[in-house]
Symmetry: C2
Subunit: 207 residues, 2 copies
């Protein structure tokens, strides 16, 4: 009797193999064959789940996003409840920087993906879609902070949310390149947040 396989588990295992390959040597010169070997399965078996490298990349990036979400929720659950909008912004940004082995790994996958996505409409669409919930969350938190008078005057929540994402992205690139240490990158983002919430007391537990 053939062994029963949980397809979701199998896909996750493949994504983790891709992840390991992305971290150790990047995805530029890597094909489905190498990922299959890393996942300990045949090329045919892998192609049953992901017919093309792009299919695999889209899944891997979604997986990276879900893992980051999970870590943000963990961070937030350790704070006084309910966490303030500022605390949610800070926890989210922290997971967008390569400061832990987990976030660094996820961001290496993201960088590998980026270089391919700029040339590929399907991957681009997946990225645009993937960034929207993050944009919405940050904008909503900034809006709430503004309602409580805790956002610096003249700042537009939607634009500031996208600026935060862009800043974190740039900091990540330069930390991964070794231009800055992770600590310097964090400090830079902290300074930006301090300006954004300028003149407002930091009360992590306050709604």
């Amino acid at each position: 009797m053939a062994q029963r396989v949980d397809p979701e588990l199998r896909r996750k295992r493949i994504a983790e193999a891709l992840w390991r390959v992305a971290v150790s040597r990047g995805l530029h010169d890597v094909g489905l064959r190498e990922v299959a070997a890393e996942a300990g399965m045949s090329l045919g078996a892998l192609q049953h789940y992901f017919p093309t490298k792009d299919d695999m990349l889209v899944f891997a990036l979604e997986f990276v996003g879900q893992e980051a979400d999970r870590r943000v929720r963990e961070r937030l659950s350790s704070l006084p409840q309910p966490p303030s909008p500022e605390a949610v912004v800070r926890a989210t940004l922290a997971e967008m920087l390569p400061v832990s082995p987990e976030s660094r790994t996820g961001l290496l996958v993201h960088v590998a993906y980026l270089a391919r996505a700029v040339h590929n409409p399907r991957l681009r669409a997946a990225t645009v879609e993937g960034i929207q919930p993050l944009r919405d969350l940050l904008a909503e938190m900034l809006r709430r902070a503004a309602e409580h008078g805790r956002l610096a005057p003249g700042r537009e929540p939607g634009a500031e949310a996208m600026a935060l994402i862009c800043l974190a992205e740039g900091v990540t690139n330069y930390v991964l390149l070794g231009t800055m240490t992770a600590v310097e990158g964090e400090r830079l983002v902290d300074a930006h947040l301090a300006e954004l919430f300028r003149g407002t007391a930091e009360v992590p537990g306050q709604p």
Copy 2:
């Protein structure tokens, strides 16, 4: 008699071929052979100048940087002389965003390079070195603006210079991915600069 070849011209022609390939389909799956074909020369001839793909990438990135410098100087020469530190910062940032076909092209090369460089110590070192003059220039301009009381209070020129580079990098990624238009990206950077030079009149021609 063999045709005489200017080696610098030849290297530049190869860099431009690499550039065209980077723009049209990215560099992830591209080898020296494809670039040689694009440059209209044999693989052997290309390898005389660039033995490896990394050699070629380092040169192409330097070339991208020089072209960007040239465009910044052109922008500045059209302003009242001497340009203010703010004007220099604005002109420099403008060339770091994919708003013109030239800067877009250069930035596509940069993105392709980035994905490889995070896994390659030699390419990383070239990037770190390449970013230093830009960092120094921006920090120096912000320092001069601060001396004239035209930098927002509490801002540290060195850190703000790096924040500008990171913000431009992130904006570039998301414009190339189609998450934002180039105009939205420019607006986002302009809003950041307006905060940085907050409460200061804009006098482009003033030193």
